[in-house]
Symmetry: C2
DNA sequence: TATTAGCACTCAGAAAAGGCGAGTGCTAAG
DNA sequence: CTTAGCACTCGCCTTTTCTGAGTGCTAATA
């Protein structure tokens, strides 16, 4: 059933007002809006219809209306107006975008904190691999007597290392040999194809360095199997700044007991459709504890084979338009930073103003 | 002024009861204790004295007594009884102690989560360097056309790496030369001694690889200057499980606005005295926002030059004895795990029961 | 002198009662 | 189809009352 333009206008107004006041919206409040030319009585009638359709809800008989999850969904998909970041906002986003660390994990963690701070809501950042990881390059470095550093480069320009301490003494030549063997037999091999057979062959060819092999393989397999980097979830406490949680600490606690890092890492799989921006509204969510919680997430490109996701967690009543705009701004600039690789702090993000998303 | 034995007994009882009930303790509750042989009236008199001395407080005239910060401090320093972990507790601690990851930062983050989970309070884990870091070994690996991996080993067995992408093409030999130069000129040099002069000398000796030098040095200096690893603070929400914060979300939020990762990293400097266990009680704390908050922290050994700290954040009214016991158990076993280096998950922590601390 | 029983008094917090007013749905007129 | 008018509902805020745990003091007791 299609909505009339007027109904759309009213629904949009209700969401907009409710989002900023957190109070049920009455017919008079809407009638008072500048571009509304019909009386509160008319609006009451329309609101009754919208309630009938399941787009609005009434906390109790004598209260105003509140958008239902379906109402939010409609709003997001069709009604939401682009939010244009103000110059002030762009400015502080830009200032925030200075990442200090150069290490990948730390950068992602900083990104999470940043998003949380700039949206004043709990947020997360994570990196996911688009396809299965494969090893690209092995190296073994002698770091001292009995100390060997294993350096492993994966697809997607991820470099991992591990310090291995071994009572057995090996020579540089042994290490060189083992590294060569590893490079020859494991490069570009997905984890599933690394079977016992392969391992045995490596062990045999490794010569004096063979005691190293199990340690090396352990680490390598661990790295390969890790489909996504850690989820960096932060700012949980900011949820308490939201009026709906102000006196419901218990509920807030529940939210994050359910929505932990592990759950977040699985969210992309649950999503209805694909696209750069994703909204998870209330009951669409997976768990009952999250029925009043929404998540807005956005992807950005990190580099070959890797993809970043930033997301914001908030009450269903959240300013989807503004959050989307901010996330979009982040995504755009982070994407640029990461892709250039090297030194992100050296590259000031362009002062793009405003953000697009579907109307 | 010295306390009589009876006063000590009463103070201890009040703390113990208050810690578990979170309700002001009345004279009758103490009189009902099995090993108390004096009447509630006597206790009332003693309580009046203790209040006079500033060890107890009275929320209001007709309420029981609550320990004052000074009371807690006395309790911790002199009255606290060793808490003996139950077999069940030791068991679940042991189960939890299986660290999955092999990467240092991730391990520390897991440790934080673990401590938080097992104490049901916000917790953190961090690693601090006992002395200034120096570089121990440099290596440069050719990872592909224009891709170079810098591997840097620091004192304390910390290995860092960075992928450098460079439009300039360099040969393996160039890299080898640069690595040799770096090793020769920077090894064991503290950050302060790495001056422009030194850099210039390196640049000059680097030959074809000299465009790499600034990038390498940037990263190296960053690593050297980082006195402590990240603070991994987690489980903030668990503070809400404490009755004093149940309906005071705002206060809980304030706590962590103040006590953020940065502040935590500075805590050790604020501490009155040294020792493996440290207590920060209420107003001893640095900021006014933390006046009802305590921190218990404990050090553990990670390996040469490095030291780990785990800590728990909670209301002043927290079970110092139990928390201390649990932290101690963690510290002991983590220390053992980290020192053995290699594969922590391979080493089941001994089933030490009970924990010591001063009586 | 140290302890205890007894008692009047205090006061926070729970429960009950009352009042306010925003907002609704309906009806009837424009 | 729209709107003015009006009776009605009901959450929430404020006020009031009530209750009982706990105190401090006094006077009796060991």
């Amino acid at each position: 059933m299609e909505l009339t333009d007027r109904q759309k206008q009213i629904l949009r107004a209700i969401v907009d007002i409710y989002v900023s006041t957190a109070e049920p919206v009455g017919s008079k409040a809407i009638a008072a809006l500048p571009d509304v030319n019909f009386s509160s009585a008319t609006i009451r009638n329309e609101m009754a219809d919208l309630t009938q359709m399941g787009l609005l809800e009434q906390p109790h008989t004598s209260a105003g209306r509140v958008p239902s999850p379906a109402g939010y969904r409609l709003y997001i998909d069709e009604l939401m107006q682009d939010y244009r970041l103000s110059l002030d906002e762009t400015k502080s986003l830009n200032e925030a975008l200075e990442l200090k660390s150069q290490e990948f994990d730390q950068m992602m963690s900083q990104v999470g904190k940043l998003v949380s701070k700039m949206t004043d809501l709990p947020a997360y950042a994570m990196a996911t691999r688009q396809s299965g990881a494969v090893a690209k390059h092995f190296d073994l470095i002698m770091a001292g007597p009995g100390s060997i550093i294993l350096v492993l480069m994966l697809s997607g320009d991820v470099v991992k290392n591990k310090l291995i301490k071994l009572p057995v003494s090996v020579t540089e030549a042994d290490l060189k040999l083992l590294a060569a063997v590893l490079n020859a037999s494991l490069t570009d091999l997905p984890a599933q194809q690394i079977t016992g057979e392969v391992l045995e062959k490596i062990s045999r060819s490794a010569g004096a360095a063979s005691p190293l092999v199990p340690l090396v393989m352990d680490f390598t397999l661990e790295c390969l199997r890790q489909q996504h980097g850690d989820v960096h979830l932060t700012g949980q406490m900011r949820l308490l700044g939201q009026p709906e949680y102000r006196d419901a600490a218990e509920k807030a606690q529940e939210v994050f007991e359910t929505l932990d890092e592990e759950m977040i890492s699985k969210l992309p799989a649950v999503l209805p459709k694909d696209g750069p921006v994703q909204f998870l509204v209330g009951p669409e969510n997976v768990a009952r504890e999250l029925k009043d919680t929404s998540v807005v997430m956005m992807r950005f490109d990190i580099g070959e084979g890797m993809q970043g996701t930033i997301g914001v967690v908030g009450p269903t009543r959240m300013d989807y338009a503004k959050i989307t705009a901010k996330l979009g701004y982040f995504a755009e600039n982070l994407g640029r930073m990461f892709q250039k690789g090297g030194t992100p702090s050296a590259m000031p993000p362009a002062l793009t103003e405003g953000m697009k998303n579907e109307e």
